[in-house]
Subunit: 338 residues, 2 copies
Amino acid sequence: MNSVNLKQLARELNLSVSTVSRALRDSWEISTPTKQRVFALAKEMNFQPNPYASSLRKHRSRTIAVVIPEVANNFFALAIKGIETVARAKGYHVLIYLTNEDVAEEAAIASSLQSGRVDGVVLSLCGSAQDTRHLLELQQRNIPMVFFDRVSEGITAPKVMTNDYESGFVATEHLIKSGCRRLAHLTISMCLSISLKRQQGYLDAMRRFERDGGIIHCGSDDEANYRLIRELLAREDRPDGVFASVEKLAVQVYHVCRELGLRIPEDVKVISFSNLVTASLLNPSLTTIAQPAFDMGKEAATILFRRLEKKYIVTPEDRVMLPARLEVRESTGAGLSR
Amino acid sequence: MNSVNLKQLARELNLSVSTVSRALRDSWEISTPTKQRVFALAKEMNFQPNPYASSLRKHRSRTIAVVIPEVANNFFALAIKGIETVARAKGYHVLIYLTNEDVAEEAAIASSLQSGRVDGVVLSLCGSAQDTRHLLELQQRNIPMVFFDRVSEGITAPKVMTNDYESGFVATEHLIKSGCRRLAHLTISMCLSISLKRQQGYLDAMRRFERDGGIIHCGSDDEANYRLIRELLAREDRPDGVFASVEKLAVQVYHVCRELGLRIPEDVKVISFSNLVTASLLNPSLTTIAQPAFDMGKEAATILFRRLEKKYIVTPEDRVMLPARLEVRESTGAGLSR
DNA sequence: AAATTCAACTACAACGTTTTCGTAAATAAT
DNA sequence: ATTATTTACGAAAACGTTGTAGTTGAATTT
């Protein structure tokens, strides 16, 4: 426990508690010599104001929450880094909550955040069935929220996202232009707007270039996903191009291809949304759509702080779009020389 | 703001604030019918106790801090997941702080934690020069700490670590038995005990098997590291076996080898401490020493909570050792068939 | 019948800050 | 010289919860 408090400082200095408090906040009501005495003693006694007393009194915690589906994923890890960087620069603290892609956990977390523990929330939705009541309740408590990447269309709040539709289109187009005839799209959720947009980009590109192909609906169970992908690639009429909406699925495609003896890119071309640092070192290197994860985190946090400082008014159509980048590599046929 | 509080509940129920408080904590002093009335109304009004008032009064925040060098790294990401899992199960909240491998930032964070904001800290040291005064100060404030992976030898606190010396020895031995004659060890810090232990394992294995080789001291500047590694591998008498102490450096070895046209494992064999999920998919797949990151996080958090519940007495030599696993893959010559 | 115990509640202070409202002395304005 | 203003501080009331120390009225014991 930190036991040095204002009262002790005040006693030692023959001042009142309020004077010491004001002096420490550099109030103009306090004379310079007094301030100096207070600062000196506070430093000497290593005074640290009790954040809970302060939060209680001021109704502000200088703390935000980050709610994400998982952390062992370079995208979210980088986003956290972006958020934490901005937050610490602003003197805020960052609480982290993992939903593990489970809407029930997400709801429990949202509910616990109604207590006023945090001044605001940065979040990315989980992929399981989206009932957003728990988030609406948070919003009704006037706790500002900012979404990033996996946004909710049903909630009026700032959203930081990538150009998912275009990226889905471009990814598909790239597969087609690399010579694929039968495609498959591996998606992670039918509830997330980003998934639907990527999927729509895929479908539109397919129609535009008159190709065939289906959509495989994967979930959060890795083993089930593996079986689905294996089944897909073991079929007689297997696709010769696979577009994975998240890197986890692309990794599984690689494993399945190894197991089935399929060559990438000769037999199957692969492209994926991904922020893997090792994409270029994979065998073969993986063509990716890389999102600016760190910047998305930074941007989301920046918007949140602007809201907290009341310098920001939320409009219904309030979104920032940070574009993803296509990085062409061997898995779609580039530089086949080995 | 959450404006429904005990006072409002009490007024509504014609009870005193203290009775409502006790009823909600299910005290035996309150009759069952009263409790039921209180519970019912609390639920109806969606009452959430103010955590800051409670923390102020009880001198306990039900919050812990996790202080780590970085998050965009599978080891730390998994450790966070382990910590968060245990913490949430215990009803605790997790604050996250990134030191970015900078001891000054680490000190600033430690200092801010002296305020009593958290009940305890789980931490892994940064790799830059270790002056641990800031941590000792935290300890003097009676804030329990538990180290994991990058522990401090100078501080009496529980430590969760891997068998770094043995792993360093085994990794080196594995390179030697794979046919390497000239080795090199890439280390990240001369201040971290884990680095020194891995290095000592390397040195002892070298002496034991009578091989030559040096140690390259890398830092936190990626570009400088790249130059160091490039210089090492461009030399006439370059090593034919490289043991990287962290995955970041192994990835750079791969890049340098590409650039220089060196073949792995034919020209250079590579082994690294790493938790990369894609280790087996790299070109060639990377032989790793994998640490049980998730379990280390869980274990560290578990110990911390035992301390917080006073069910734990710290002894000077208080450490849990979770063994790392050697995963042999192509980068050290296994299964050369492609 | 008086004293004791007990069950079920209430009053109030405390936790450490911040903020509102004063107030005394010093200075300036009239 | 009197009043107004300014400067520099203090007293006390919040913030919402919890713990200690009562206070009832009823049940039990003596």
